[in-house]
């Protein structure tokens, strides 16, 4: 029973982690909470639904198409809506992200209507039973795909030239540009990766719950934001851990009988973190210049 809840929690948490990574990476570089990020996840799920039929329900092609589509969307949003405001006050930018979020949601409502649609059957569901444990093939795929994507992200950030430039820019934006790093390119790349991960999350969740709707990104986005703060905003491993922990908290909370308060658990957690450890689990203490 306990192990079963653990598996369910990890599955849910992995999808939070995929979304949380986008929040944290963007925040790490330009100190912006991109509130439209949850909607990129939603669009990713819709692209998945639209593409699945065209590629005869091939899972990997569907996933790839959603990721590529959202890369284009994320980069375009940054370019068109955020970049022109980079030098204006932080609040203006924050409000702009909310504006973009509303735009994307409304756009999808116009296009598809507000109701939820099912996801095409692109994965055969097999359920393995072992003793009292149940593991569905969908859960396994969510865990595996998330794991591969997160490992890939770690490799990119740690070993590639652009990944190192991302880390340099997140430590010290001005000095990174003095190294000859084109900061705009780094920011575009960051949005690209974050959006791709969110799209993957959208497709996986769409399949898992067999439901895709224009407002699915609101709660998922907020929770992923909590996950990012829980791990320490700006910290990549932190977002992964935060996502997984949040998933576990939710599932165990429901198992303990608080299912009515399922969505409140994340926000209660947020309040606790902000009170006890505002920099998050892996966050560094805020450094102030003298």
């Amino acid at each position: 029973m306990l192990i079963q809840q653990f598996i369910n929690g990890l599955t849910l948490g992995a999808t939070y982690a995929l979304i949380a990574l986008g929040y944290t990476m963007v925040y790490g570089i330009i100190q912006l909470i991109n509130f439209a990020h949850g909607d990129i996840y939603m669009i990713g799920a819709f692209i998945g639904v639209a593409v699945a039929g065209l590629v005869s329900n091939n899972f990997f092609l569907t996933l790839g198409a959603a990721m590529i589509g959202c890369v284009a969307l994320g980069v375009t949003i940054e370019r068109v809506a955020y970049r022109p405001l980079r030098r204006s006050s932080r609040l203006n930018l924050l409000i702009t992200t909310i504006g973009v979020s509303i735009f994307l949601e409304t756009f999808m409502v116009l296009l598809k209507g507000p109701q939820a649609t099912g996801f095409p059957p692109i994965l055969k569901t097999t359920t393995w039973r072992l003793g009292g444990l149940e593991l569905s093939s969908i859960q396994l795929i969510i865990l595996l795909v998330s794991l591969v994507l997160m490992a890939g992200l770690q490799l990119i950030v740690k070993y590639t030239k652009i990944g190192k430039a991302m880390r340099a820019a997140s430590e010290d934006y001005d000095t990174a540009s003095l190294m000859g790093i084109n900061i705009n390119r780094v920011i575009s790349f960051t949005f690209a990766i974050g959006s791709a991960l969110a799209a993957a999350g959208g497709v996986l969740v769409g399949i898992y719950f067999n439901s895709v709707s224009p407002y699915m990104g609101v709660m998922a986005g907020l929770k992923a934001f909590v996950a990012a703060v829980l791990g320490g905003i700006g910290n990549i491993p932190g977002a992964m851990i935060g996502g997984l922990l949040l998933g576990l908290f939710e599932v165990f909370g429901v198992a303990a009988g608080f299912s009515t308060y399922k969505d409140a658990i994340a926000f209660a957690l947020l309040i606790v973190i902000l009170l006890v450890r505002p920099t998050g689990l892996l966050g560094r203490p805020i450094q102030r210049k003298v």
């Binding site: 030239k161 190192k164 430039a165 880390r167 340099a168 430590e171 010290d172 001005d174 000095t175 990174a176 540009s177 003095l178 190294m179 000859g180 790093i181 084109n182 900061i183």
Partner: protein, 234 residues
């Protein structure tokens, strides 16, 4: 090599530079000295593209660079070592050097540059896998300079390389700056430590509240009573 013409820079309504002009010729060390808040750092940040001047023009090797971005300016061989070292503390020494070589095109070029930097700063070679944040202040300054040399600059902008260092280390840093210059790199040096700066510079400009009030050969400025009184503590 570098020609700054009448640049004015303002932060909001506060004018930090009031139309200053100066030149740096190829092969020189030129010092820009002045008190805190005189506009020295602002000058360097404007030359390297981090700040945009309200008025005026900047030419580097005959080309106008006034409106270029920092990364474009670095690619032209003009590299800025910022005040306070600003190493990437959570990255290793090696990764810091790799960032310095960001504009490097080939692996071979990178290796050659790395070798040269390690030769000049053997300490960095010993500590290449250490996080830069764990280095001592002197080592961080060496890393900041070494990192800048990784782009093989033709000209270096150095902002307060002596800041926060013990006197012995200050001496060492300045002798390294002199060596770098003798190896063919032109240097614009900003310093509060006027005595050290004037001792290695060919020429110098004195900046006071956003204006250049004196200029001339470094040795000559060192003899000027007003300089001795205001900046050399006599």
């Amino acid at each position: 090599m570098l020609e700054v013409k009448e640049i004015s820079v303002a932060y909001g309504v506060i004018e930090a530079l009031k139309g200053i002009s100066f030149t740096v010729r190829e092969g020189e060390i030129v010092a820009l000295i002045g008190a805190n808040g005189a506009g020295k750092t602002t000058t360097l940040r404007t030359v390297s593209g981090l700040l945009r001047p309200r008025k005026g023009q900047i030419f580097y090797q005959g080309q106008e660079i006034t409106r270029l971005s920092p990364h474009q300016i670095v690619a032209m061989g003009l590299t800025h070592v910022p005040e306070g070292r600003r190493v990437f503390a959570r990255m290793t020494v090696m990764e810091n050097l790799e960032m310095g070589a960001y504009t490097c095109r080939s692996r071979a070029e990178f290796k050659a540059n790395l070798e040269r930097v390690f030769q000049r700063f053997p300490r960095l070679a010993e500590r290449k896998n250490q996080l830069a944040g764990t280095l001592s202040g002197g080592e961080q300054q060496m890393l900041a300079i070494g990192r800048a040399l990784m782009s093989r600059p033709r000209m270096l902008l150095l902002d307060e390389p002596s800041m926060g260092l013990a006197p012995l280390l200050v001496r060492e840093v300045f002798s390294i700056i002199k060596e770098i210059n003798e190896a063919g790199t032109t240097i614009l040096l900003v310093e509060q430590n006027a005595r050290m700066a004037l001792s290695i510079a060919h020429r110098a400009y004195v900046l006071q509240t956003g204006e250049i009030i004196l200029e001339g050969p470094a040795a000559e400025l060192m003899e000027r009573p007003e300089v001795r009184k205001a900046y050399l503590g006599e």
